[in-house]
Symmetry: C2
Subunit: 451 residues, 2 copies
């Protein structure tokens, strides 16, 4: 059997590896549009900060390691058409075009950066100092562009987690950074305002200028500089980074008759099957089953792409596995702070028909008598009528095990626990690292007390 994979990032590679694991006799070919298969896109900010000096180190696996698993890798192969009747994919490569037949096909074409409606943006590019940031090539262009232009001031448009990570990265690189966010707070899709302000303050403390509720209208060049005009005034910078989210890259699939939804995300079932026979899709190009929602959502993250890719690969190899769904778990480190969230926030929960109540409390990461205890701000969202846990947001100090504390809530959400049932959990405790009731349980007690 021949399985063809279109896309060499998290979803594609996970699918390809899984096919080889469960059906070692299968011929697996992977088409990669560029020459960077299996790179950790999430690591780009840490390369640009200088913490990971060689971009090559961002590879989850080297080409040799991928090929050693028996996957036939075709880099520089951009898939341009799928004939789902003849089961042939057409790809362009250096100066030519190839056709590859398949028995089963997995699409993992990912996403592409959104271009917000800013006048001038369409005509400006990396040569002008205006960058999008999604691929390793984008990262390399930004890196060399900053060096070549001797950049000192950078304006970042968008304060989602990539914008924030880049603000930290470029600050650590010695640049002056301004972040402009159209919505009212930083990390607007992750945190409620009460906690987002902590992160704004952390950015400001490290010299970042943060301006929220600020809509950028226009960008233009003025000599070597860029002029960014927003509703609160005009700023000048040596480079502009536009990181305003992503949109699914589903054109190839759609043009082959694969159904997409109104957002352009490929429609798949829980087995990652599309409407076209023998055609699966996974990762940032598909919509996602969310454990707490009846409607699919779009939360493009590497963790999800890995899991979906693995399911798609297993099923393409003849298996029958369902994707269990996400609960929306995220974590981001911002200088010395860590932000983590999972589940739904109040407005999302209300929209989905829940009756949410959110209660915020501040608890110590470990027993206060032991040196080094730090406060964690935790917001718990639960359903007022059923008591079901709906979500949690945590902000605390780097080193306070925030990232893995959110995982306790994530597992609880997966299994449909009530806030009250969090108190039943046998969580670890030693005075330097916790409390007899862990911080995650103390926050649950605060929710219950306010209920």
């Amino acid at each position: 059997m021949r399985v063809l994979i279109v896309g060499g990032s998290d979803a594609g590679v996970s699918a390809a590896l899984r096919v080889r694991e469960v059906a070692p006799d299968t011929e697996v070919t992977m088409l990669v549009a560029d020459v960077y298969p299996n790179f950790s896109i999430c690591g780009i900010p840490y390369h640009l900060s200088g913490e990971v000096p060689a971009w090559q180190d961002l590879a989850h696996r080297t080409i040799a390691e991928i090929e050693a698993t028996g996957i036939a890798l075709r880099t520089n192969h951009l898939a341009t058409a799928i004939d789902t009747d003849a089961k042939v994919v057409t790809a362009t490569t250096d100066g030519g075009q190839v056709e590859l037949g398949y028995d089963r096909l997995v699409i993992g074409t990912g996403a592409e950066p959104l271009r917000p409606p800013i006048a001038g943006l369409d005509t400006l590019g990396p040569d002008d100092g205006v960058h999008l940031l999604h691929t390793i090539d984008d990262a390399r262009r930004l890196d060399s562009g900053l060096v070549r232009r001797g950049a000192r001031q950078v304006i970042i448009i968008g304060a989602g987690y990539i914008g924030i990570e880049m603000a930290e990265a470029l600050t650590n690189r010695g640049l002056e950074v301004t972040v402009l966010e159209r919505l009212e707070t930083v990390l607007p899709r992750t945190l409620d305002r009460e906690l987002a302000e902590d992160i704004s303050a952390e950015l400001v403390k490290h010299g970042v200028e943060v301006s929220c509720g600020t809509t950028v209208a226009e960008i233009h060049r003025d000599g070597d500089q860029l002029v960014v005009t927003a509703d609160d005034g005009t700023r000048r910078g040596d480079a502009v980074l536009v990181v305003s989210g992503v949109t699914p890259d589903s054109e190839l699939a759609a043009s082959a008759g694969v159904k997409v939804d109104r957002r352009g995300t490929i429609i798949v079932d829980r087995r990652m099957r599309t409407n076209v026979p023998d055609l699966w899709a996974a990762g940032d190009c598909v919509h996602t089953h969310h454990v707490l929602l009846s409607e699919p959502s779009y939360v493009p993250l590497g963790t999800t792409a890995h899991k979906q890719g693995r399911v798609a690969g297993e099923n393409a190899a003849g298996g029958d596995r369902e994707f269990a769904g996400i609960v929306g778990t995220q974590v981001v480190r911002v200088f010395d702070r860590v932000v983590a969230a999972t589940g739904l926030r109040d407005a999302e929960a209300s929209a989905a028909g829940y009756e949410p109540r959110t209660v915020q409390t501040t608890v110590d990461d470990h027993k206060r008598y032991y040196p080094g205890a730090t406060p964690i701000d935790i917001r718990i969202t639960g359903d007022r009528s059923t008591g079901r846990l709906l979500g949690a947001q945590l902000v605390g100090t780097h080193g306070a095990e925030i990232a893995k504390r959110v995982d306790t809530y994530a597992v609880a959400l997966h299994k449909g626990l009530t806030v009250d049932q969090l108190l039943d959990l046998d969580l670890s405790y030693t005075p330097p690292l916790g409390s007899p009731w862990d911080a995650v349980q103390l926050a649950a007690q605060a929710w219950l007390a306010a209920h």
Copy 2:
């Protein structure tokens, strides 16, 4: 209604607080044998190390804070008899005896340290430099004894978690420490040999002499020194610390007709009720429902005492709550290492009728390309026939979120997940703090691959 609580440690205080929460009109009286209600016994090593200079800081709550909740606190009241028909508890106090009537009674008398069969141990005490360690008084006596004797060398008998924590504490205090353990490894009730050796090495690296498989036969005084004779030879020290586990303190309850098992633990149902009407018990004096075992077990820990006490208090106040049970979660920091475990190990699982297989793997705490990644050794125990997760042991570097990573396994055990279902969990990821498949999932993949 009058609720009487015997015992002022974790279980007793949790019960008393819960009664006041759910039934604020209830008269709650708490008898405390000493003058240290609601102290963090788990914090004693960190006081003796010097990290928490004032022992008073080990109080979870001050006496004023407890009394502010409306609990009538009677310190220095040692309960000596219960008349379950007349519903009266007799207690001795300074030079006298008092009788206290109750409608409902909660017993939280805790545990007392085991005295291993060592010749001479019965005749030696703190004045000789031989110490047990269970109460705040014990801690103060050890502290002052070490100072008074100008101790330089201390021999610790027992390498359970308290023995190990004290080895670190006394080393940090500048003493030379030897640890003798009768069983074959350190932390023998927590870790398999493969991981325990890492912790022995960590102790040795910090100057602790560790001798396992060593049975102590005799202790005697020689002038100001103590001579400890074991099967591998004789050692001299200025003080000896015997920390060989605990046994339930159930004499008061048993003499009042409360049923205890062959180990002396008070028998309770899932509502923490004893066989005697209107009499509940909780904490280190009772046996414990274990989610993975059909027979009750005895795992005296503060986390469990808090949860059981809360259930007992809620039910004594007229509620109807079940204790959900433990899964045996523990964590201990040993110098720069952290050990965490939950669930069953191979032998325990076999004895309980499971078909366990344990697979060990080494995974990074976060993406290796980001500076500071450290390896975590994880052993996963799962059932070969059902695939059910049975337990996990982790050893890694302090700072690698080991304590809260074990909690993911703990929640999974609570909910009966298979090892395979760990891969479905939506756990948090950012390169400085994790991987797209978290370390806990990579270990599950290793178990599945070996299966």
